[in-house]
Symmetry: C2
Subunit: 192 residues, 2 copies
């Protein structure tokens, strides 16, 4: 049977995720991952060509999710309603991934700073804020849009120690995000 063909691969994924969130991407070595797993470094390199590839694999569907929102938004009329829907979709996307993901990305920004294909939350957030302020992209409006989106990201990343469930955090930050969007000029995104 090859039912277990991908077993080691997925064990690598989960151990790596564990260590990355625990101590950071840069501070976690392939040796460490291999040791906790009880295999050798070389075994890791059979499954993943590089260290970065593990991360890319872990969050493959995240840039896809962002991209999907952007594409969806393109076919919508610009305005407050679309802005809010983008916010909700972004929040839902992060919420589905869970707290570990958000914490991982928000704490390890430096690790994926200026690298070729590496996806960053910063980039995703900026893309969505851009879509939310179509077509004028007023700087102050963009500022508000970004802050609203960041509220969603941080809600999972920095509030883990509070006595609130994931769902409660999600809902609370969605409320805050919506409120921040109200600051955007009501005429933005409308043909005048």
């Amino acid at each position: 049977m090859d039912r277990r063909r991908t077993d080691t691969r997925s064990r690598i994924r989960s151990v790596a995720m564990e260590l990355f969130t625990e101590q950071g991407y840069d501070k976690t070595s392939m040796r460490e991952i291999a040791e906790r797993l009880g295999v050798t470094k070389a075994a890791l390199y059979y499954h993943f060509k590089t260290k970065q590839d593990i991360v890319t694999d872990l969050f493959a569907s995240l840039p896809e999710g962002i991209d999907e929102i952007v594409r969806w938004a393109r076919n919508q009329p610009a305005g407050a309603k679309t802005r809010e829907e983008i916010l909700v979709r972004y929040g839902t996307l992060l919420h589905e991934y869970g707290r570990d993901m958000a914490r991982f990305f928000y704490t390890n920004q430096a690790a994926f700073g200026r690298h070729e294909s590496a996806f960053t939350m910063r980039e995703g957030m900026r893309l969505l804020a851009h879509a939310m302020t179509t077509p004028d992209h007023n700087p102050l409006d963009t500022f508000y849009a970004r802050q609203a989106l960041l509220t969603l990201g941080w809600s999972s990343a920095m509030m883990g120690d509070l006595d609130l469930t994931d769902d409660e955090c999600f809902e609370a930050s969605l409320k805050l995000g919506r409120e921040l969007l109200q600051r955007i000029s009501p005429t933005a995104g409308h043909i005048t």
Copy 2:
């Protein structure tokens, strides 16, 4: 004259700051700092015992600033007015340091994760949110307080590319922060 006694030391500080914000703390090596400065690594170690010491030195007055706010808050009556004043003081503290500092701390969280004396923005933010929700520390109120404080941090850290001055960012995020604080139960912090 020993007027220039600290010249190299301060040049190290500014070059290190430059590289740290540019490419992250972990990805910047002592060799790199030394090279850009035109000195040897050993010279660096004359001025700073460790790499971490450079960072600690760069932001020495930041934990002091936070601490001062916390101490001030202890002598104030709990309630909405004190909460708002904490927010303003925190914002002003960050604003005075400038964008580079905020960007540095918000992007390099992983580098100072679980380390002895290393100050983290996360920790400072949590202390202040705790002070803002005295004495009951209701989880949802703490959530709102943290989000309000984070708004201030992000304004300098993630908005650098927008066509807004530092002052404009500061004022805009202060407005947002104040608004978020309104969510905190009006009775919080008052003797009932």
